[in-house]
Symmetry: C2
Subunit: 367 residues, 2 copies
């Protein structure tokens, strides 16, 4: 997407052809900082410390992390170690293990001499696939938004609520939940987006920044507000992304998604989840029992980052110093609360039957 008139992806190669550039998202929306990764450990750190976040971008960064490892040492041992390091960086997003396993399976079949070049080609391919896939699911979501918008009184903007950031910053480009919104905007559909702040890390500020860059009308709200707005008829539909979908259609996504899905149900508002098929975990049959939920540090909750009076980026402590904290990063929204999935192949029910109808090539997994 364009930032200040220039086109960017979230991850790209430096001019030297091997270093990996990322946007350090910890500084957005306040500062635009590009970081260069030179070793697999840098990629691990970037994922763990959330310089990059969003399931698809985590997968792409892991893929390039393998490249960096092989750039320095293309041995079996180096490949094996890099895979283990990267997969341990964060537990919840399935795209991480998916990308690492897919690439390493292919790379291990090549002689060490060839591996580095192959790895860069595969990582580039994975990134291109991500862009294509998100664009495709964006088109599917655009049709869906257009159908909802057509039912509104003439001239009334369609109000869409989203949680966390599932925009282009969460992917290589286009985003998942926001891809339909970007495309609908280009198609001339009048829209307004309610942007959940998304504590503790305020990824809503990233979403607001993305929407502002594309001149899409939006309003930033605290996470507590969505239910109230739905009760008042101010939300027409919800779209979120997801970090992992189990084969029965349960959705693991940023903490708080479940609460918004409950409110949507209580107010008969459609709740859609947009996902590339790489986010489906066909191995898992039940989100609540099976998806590992990452617990992150207390300081994400007790400390907040922002610009101080002098315009300097600064951290402050918002609680008493010794307050005990629990900080689970994700929750699971049961399939029963989801109106439909938006995927690159079409829209389907949030169920195993729905997912298999679009992805029939997936082998059956015993329950």
């Amino acid at each position: 997407m364009r930032v200040g008139g220039q086109h960017f992806r979230t991850i790209w190669l430096a001019d030297d052809g091997w270093r990996v550039c990322i946007i350090d998202q910890r500084y957005l929306p306040h500062q635009w900082v590009v970081a260069q990764l030179e070793q697999v450990q840098h990629a691990v750190d970037a994922i763990r410390d959330m310089q990059v976040r969003g399931a698809p971008l985590i997968g792409a960064t892991a893929a390039y992390g393998l490249c960096l490892a092989l750039h320095h040492d293309a041995s079996d041992n180096s490949l094996r170690n890099a895979c283990a390091q990267l997969k341990a960086a964060r537990p919840t997003a399935v795209n991480l293990a998916w990308a690492v396993d897919r690439l390493s399976a292919q790379l291990s079949t090549f002689p060490a001499d060839d591996r580095c070049e192959r790895a860069y080609a595969l990582a580039a391919g994975l990134c291109d696939d991500d862009v294509r896939t998100n664009r495709a699911l964006g088109e599917q979501g655009l049709s869906l938004i257009a159908r909802h918008a057509a039912r509104l009184p003439e001239g009334r903007a369609i109000n869409i609520l989203t949680h966390c950031n599932a925009g282009w910053l969460a992917t290589v480009d286009w985003g998942t939940a926001l891809a339909p919104i970007f495309l609908a905007h280009r198609a001339g559909i009048k829209m307004h987006v309610w942007v959940d702040e998304t504590r503790p890390r305020n990824q809503g500020a990233l979403t607001a920044w993305e929407l502002e860059q594309q001149s899409i009308a939006h309003t930033y709200i605290v996470d507590n507000a969505g239910g109230h707005l739905m009760q008042r008829g101010l939300v027409d539909l919800c779209i979120t992304g997801t970090d992992r979908v189990t084969r029965n259609g349960d959705v693991c996504n940023k903490i708080g998604t479940y609460l918004k899905a409950l409110a949507a149900r209580d107010n008969s508002i459609p709740f859609y989840v947009a996902l590339p098929s790489s986010t489906i975990d066909w191995q898992l049959g039940n989100g609540l029992d099976d998806v590992p939920i990452e617990t992150r540090g207390d300081e994400e909750v007790t400390r907040v980052r922002g610009l101080d009076h002098d315009g300097k980026l600064s951290d402050i402590c918002v609680t008493g110093r010794a307050v005990p904290v629990r900080n689970d990063a994700f929750d699971v929204t049961p399939a029963r609360l989801i109106t439909a999935f938006i995927t690159e192949r079409g829209v389907c029910a949030a169920s195993e039957a729905g997912l298999r109808s679009l992805f029939p090539e997936t082998v059956a997994v015993p329950a």
Copy 2:
């Protein structure tokens, strides 16, 4: 309640017998600041700028605001103006208008010479009533907590979730939602409290501070987390306060309460609302249609206050500078989602019949 070993109420008279002292809650939990009010305008500002907050304490502050007005000028005109000013300070909490109307009706029957002294006596009485009422509803809530705790396995703490601050800081003393918790702790019931942060103003930090002062186990969580914890069996019951209850049992309370009530219902967890009867608005029959919802400034959402690296209280901007914001301070939880009300006269169903069973003296209001 005790702070650092000394007993405090949230509002009291200065040694001169007429100035009014309050705890400036905008500085808590970071700093203990006592402010003195000398004019009715100071009381209006304290309510509007949330130096004091919580429906019962707003009522008490308004009562003393009348005293301050009459201290300087005890005329009919002064009384009338003070009432108008105070009632306009914040729109949602019913206790504000209730306290002002009750006192002014009584005061207007006295000659101007007498009014000031009478006003201070009435305000003191109102404060004492608030303390007594909250203590009584605390006892009712204690029985309820004890009953729930008795069903748990031996030695397991009962997990209670609360939203916003409905502790002693929100009242003259004891609190509403926290009064049962304070008393249950004194009664030796093993408890743990999940404290919702409560964006945008983080009143959860006040609740955590209150609980810490009383050595009650607690954990601070973002507002997004409660549903997830309920799904995992980590919440046994919820108790919140309220700013206004309509006669049919709808609960207007801090924004986000509705989302927690939905999650409690989805997970079969009891959801209680604790209220002194002064919070019941017998005039209103439907919360969603009838309760005015206060919209507050954007800066409550975009700016966050806390301690910087040097331990200095500092405000930072957490969003892009120009982000559009909507900041509704309250939402309405429909009566159907509430297990029961905890009042000073007992526990009752969240319905007109339930409320009337405890408060039969209330005159019928035509629908």
